[in-house]
Symmetry: C2
Subunit: 225 residues, 2 copies
């Protein structure tokens, strides 16, 4: 184990950390008529989820996703109806887990960690996603920012999640492939694990993650050793 005491609870981000976004990215690229445009969309979606949060507002992740997709489409002279935008997002509910996920979660569970998911997706969407991916049984709780009506990485989300799990922030480790998620959890007092999925890099203005891991097997090697 690296710095800090062994965490009691592992909180897993879902989209991209556990689930492979590739089919969603294909769907978005197709609508935006450009390979790789989905990366700009996903970043815009994350930006606007926080735009709402700092404005004291909340709309579901899929609604923010559809609204931002319509904006980017109009910049490309593509006019999307709200229905077409939502259709392009449908693959989000049927994503498969990355190859390392199922076995590694089982190993971590056997090693005695309490495990929960903590997602920006709505309560219903997250439930569908984890059921479809065959991961639902791995988690003691499926937590969503919808309960707080603020998006990650708002510090209150992590503080709420720790309270829900009945442990202190220091006893939680947030596991995510996103530098912004890891940054926010660390600022809120949690231990953190940064999973180095393709296309994601650490943020140099954040606290260093407690653990960096190439994938969840590597995380299990480091935590359960």
């Amino acid at each position: 184990m690296p710095q800090g005491s062994r965490p009691v609870v592992l909180l897993f981000d879902v989209n991209e950390t556990l689930l492979d976004l590739a089919p969603l990215e294909e769907s978005i690229d197709e609508v935006l008529l450009e390979n790789g445009a989905s990366r700009l969309w996903f970043t815009t979606l994350l930006q606007y989820s926080l735009v709402l949060t700092v404005g004291g507002k909340y709309e579901s992740f899929v609604d923010v996703g559809a609204a931002t997709l319509m904006m980017l489409a109009r910049n490309r002279e593509v006019v999307l109806s709200p229905e077409q935008a939502r259709q392009a997002l449908e693959p989000m509910l049927k994503l498969a887990p990355h190859h390392d996920v199922l076995d590694a979660l089982a190993r971590l569970k056997r090693a005695g960690f309490r495990m929960a998911s903590l997602s920006n997706s709505s309560i219903d969407a997250c439930k569908s996603q984890l059921e479809h991916a065959g991961l639902a049984s791995m988690f003691e709780r499926q937590l969503s920012v919808e309960s707080v009506a603020k998006y990650k990485p708002h510090c209150e989300v992590y503080q709420w999640a720790a309270r829900e799990m009945k442990v202190s922030e220091q006893d939680c480790m947030l596991v995510a492939a996103h530098a912004w998620d890891v940054a926010g959890a660390a600022w809120a007092g949690m231990q953190t694990a940064f999973i180095e999925r393709k296309g994601n890099q650490p943020f140099s203005l954040a606290l260093p993650p407690s653990v960096c891991a190439s994938d969840l097997h590597n995380l299990a090697d480091q935590l359960a050793a």
Copy 2:
């Protein structure tokens, strides 16, 4: 005049609304080895400015810009030193105004509006930017989020700006080319003008802007008529 009473104070966003980002975009595209990659960088910069804000942290806009540029560069197998990243951002301090800006601001000033800038750039950076662009004398005040240590569109920024100008939020109109800025100002109780600069679209989950204008001349036509 459209809905609402005539605003007493016009608050102008600076980057992209008044100043043409083209030379900065060229510099960033060059570093990221891809035409148009600067759009992903600018969105990532805005996302991470809010990541800091919701985490209760603050770093200057140029520092967040350099950190996010380094992340995107690493995703493209380009390793940038912090100095190289800052160098790529240097054109930001020497941007020219869009062609419509100088005349239109003079018209609005003659029409009796009190005018101030309200930027995500730091106090010093904003001062340099407006001096270099020949716009400094147009504004009664140059306001920066640095004074609040929270980024736009956090509602406290607009509330603070109204207090600084000694008027109510309802007597201010925020003028910006960015849907997120207009959204936040409207949620904070301000009147808003959305300037339709290329590559920017309204956000369908926001309140509708009080005014939409194709450029600042068109805004002056609508406000000073």
